[in-house]
């Protein structure tokens, strides 16, 4: 049995009158990159928001490091060393790039207190973050904002990084940058849970995969096995990898 960092067991989530998740079972092994795939409306984003406590599970259990976190509120969950990048990136447009980064660095009260060596590493992954350091984040392009969103999430070491569609709307060159960055992060031992629609992105990065449909996980296993099984891809995703 793999060392589980995060697990969801029979999770149901309602948003108002709508029943979105219908008993999600998901395991995210420690130190690996797990891809969460599925068609639009399958429940991927809702699953991430439920993990973060932004929407509360009405039934089932979310566990992190063996601890039940289902009833915790969002700041408590984030405080367990979990970073989250939402689909809309959550960039504070009126704040500078530096201020966005400082906010995520919970240990630092001033910009000078951020870990300089880690910042240099982040700048090497995302040069735009350094280039536009004192610019308002709202003035960045879509790709630069996405880089900032991921850079902000890793400004301090986190045990789990959760990212919702990092390649959405990005140019191919920027997607390659993003893939390199996640590969380096994975190499550093960070556990990552990624929601993706871009199957090639998923294929190049994923260790494990879970496929969702109609608010349930309908397939879970290794990414390699899914990539090699065209019939399974057709039946789960309606396309070939």
């Amino acid at each position: 049995m793999k060392d589980e960092l995060l697990s969801l067991s029979g999770v149901h989530t309602h948003i108002g009158a709508y029943h979105i998740l219908h008993g999600v079972d998901l395991v995210v092994p420690r130190g690996q990159l797990t891809m969460l795939l599925g068609r639009n409306g399958a429940g991927k984003t809702t699953t991430l928001r439920t993990i973060m406590g932004l929407w509360k599970a009405s039934q089932g259990q979310v566990s992190f490091n063996g601890r039940d976190i289902t009833a915790l509120n969002t700041p408590e969950i984030a405080g367990l060393n979990i970073a989250y990048v939402p689909e809309n990136m959550g960039i504070f447009a009126d704040l500078t790039v530096q201020e966005n980064m400082l906010l995520a660095a919970r240990q630092a009260k001033r910009a000078g207190q951020m870990d300089a060596a880690r910042l240099q590493w982040i700048f090497s992954l995302f040069p735009a973050v350094e280039k536009f350091w004192n610019h308002p984040a709202g003035k960045l392009s879509g790709g630069q904002k996405q880089m900032l969103a991921v850079a902000r999430a890793i400004v301090e070491p986190r045990e789990l990084l959760i990212v919702d569609e990092p390649s959405k709307g990005l140019a191919p060159a920027i997607i390659n940058n993003m893939i390199d960055a996640f590969a380096q992060l994975k190499g550093s031992g960070t556990t990552i849970l990624l929601v993706e629609q871009n199957i090639n992105f998923a294929k190049r990065l994923g260790d494990q995969v879970a496929v969702m449909d109609n608010g349930r996980v309908v397939h879970a296993g290794s990414m390699q096995a899914l990539a090699e099984d065209e019939a399974l891809q057709q039946s789960l995703l309606g396309l070939a990898v």
């Binding site: 973060m52 932004l54 509120n73 969002t74 700041p75 984030a78 405080g79 989250y84 939402p86 959550g90 504070f92 447009a93 009126d94 704040l95 500078t96 201020e99 400082l102 906010l103 995520a104 919970r106 009260k109 001033r110 280039k131 350091w133 004192n134 610019h135 308002p136 709202g138 003035k139």
Partner: protein, 327 residues
């Protein structure tokens, strides 16, 4: 690395308005008197409105009860200053200021403490429900006004200016009231303190970020509700300070004074852009100047001139002069 761009157009509105009316007023000395009076009034309104705009921006809470802290601050100050008659009656400025500043401090403490209870028992149960917020906070203000009547009585109470703050300084032919200069100085100090806190401290950064995207601030691990309580208490305390300034400006206090100023405050925060402190300063100065200029030039339109100002600004910038991103 370039620094942050600043949108200068709204900043130019205040001098533009002042210069625009100069030919209409004709006399430069009258214009200077009215301008200083308008700036002083604007600064007092800014002190009151600065907390409210952050409360609105941070938690989307429509607090129509903000006025009660204004009246409370003014009444507390009247009691404190009443106990310091020897100091306020002195002709020495330093003795007057040593009476006024403790009165301001006590007013802020009392208004802040009442603000803490107001948030806990009146605002917190109706988070996210605008209609209920309007009704319950207005109800809270009415209860507050009645409690003020119980403690201080229903009648208007005089709040005379300390001796050395009365009268005017002559600048050529222009008479500049001393107290108005003090109001401008206090307003600038409050703005400088707020601007420093919001731009130079992590807590300020959190407030600015929370105004834009509460959910993301929580996702970064910060408890925004605690931050909101802090901002609400600060906003109440500043309203209390503004109440002292307004009471001394009017030289009397009434239990209804908060409700009377409430309308102006909402005009100011709408002009400024909900959640924007810098915008609230611009809005407050414009409102103060407009009230004084129209009061002199066309008293009959003075009552609704600020509504006209707000409409004009919103036609130019529908979300206020400094709209907060992501809202």
């Amino acid at each position: 690395m370039k620094s942050v761009d600043l949108d200068w157009k709204p900043l130019a509105l205040v001098p533009a308005l002042a210069l625009l009316v100069l030919p209409l007023i004709g006399s430069p000395s009258t214009w200077l008197t009215l301008t200083v009076a308008g700036l002083a009034m604007g600064m007092i309104i800014f002190i009151i409105a600065s907390g409210l705009t952050l409360v609105f921006g941070l938690m989307d809470v429509l607090n129509f009860g903000h006025g009660v802290f204004i009246a409370l601050g003014a009444f507390v100050a009247s009691s404190v200053l009443g106990l310091m008659g020897d100091w306020t009656g002195s002709g020495e400025l330093w003795r007057n200021l040593l009476a006024v500043f403790p009165a301001m401090l006590v007013a802020m403490l009392v208004a802040g403490a009442v603000g803490l209870a107001f948030e806990r028992f009146i605002v917190r149960p109706v988070y996210g429900q605008h209609l209920k917020q309007i009704l319950i906070t207005m109800g809270g203000m009415i209860i507050g006004e009645e409690l003020i009547k119980v403690i201080w009585g229903p009648a208007q109470i005089p709040l005379p200016l300390p001796e050395a703050l009365r009268g005017s300084i002559l600048l050529g032919d222009a008479a500049i009231e001393k107290y108005r200069l003090l109001a401008v100085v206090v307003g600038l100090l409050v703005f400088a303190a707020l601007a420093w806190t919001l731009t130079r401290t992590k807590i300020g950064l959190l407030i600015r970020a929370g105004v834009q995207d509460r959910e993301m601030v929580e996702s970064l691990g910060y408890r925004i509700k605690r931050l909101f309580v802090g901002v609400f208490v600060l906003g109440s305390a500043l309203a209390g300070l503004g109440g002292v300034m307004w009471g001394l400006y009017q030289q009397n206090v009434t239990p209804q004074m908060g409700a009377q100023v409430n309308v102006l405050i909402f005009i100011v925060i709408i002009i400024g852009g909900l959640g924007s402190t810098g915008g609230a300063l611009i809005g407050a100065l414009m409102v103060g100047l407009m009230a004084n200029y129209t009061g002199f030039l066309a008293p009959k339109v003075a009552m609704f001139s600020n509504i006209g100002l707000m409409v004009a600004i919103l036609l130019w910038r529908p979300q206020g002069v400094y709209p907060v991103a992501n809202r």
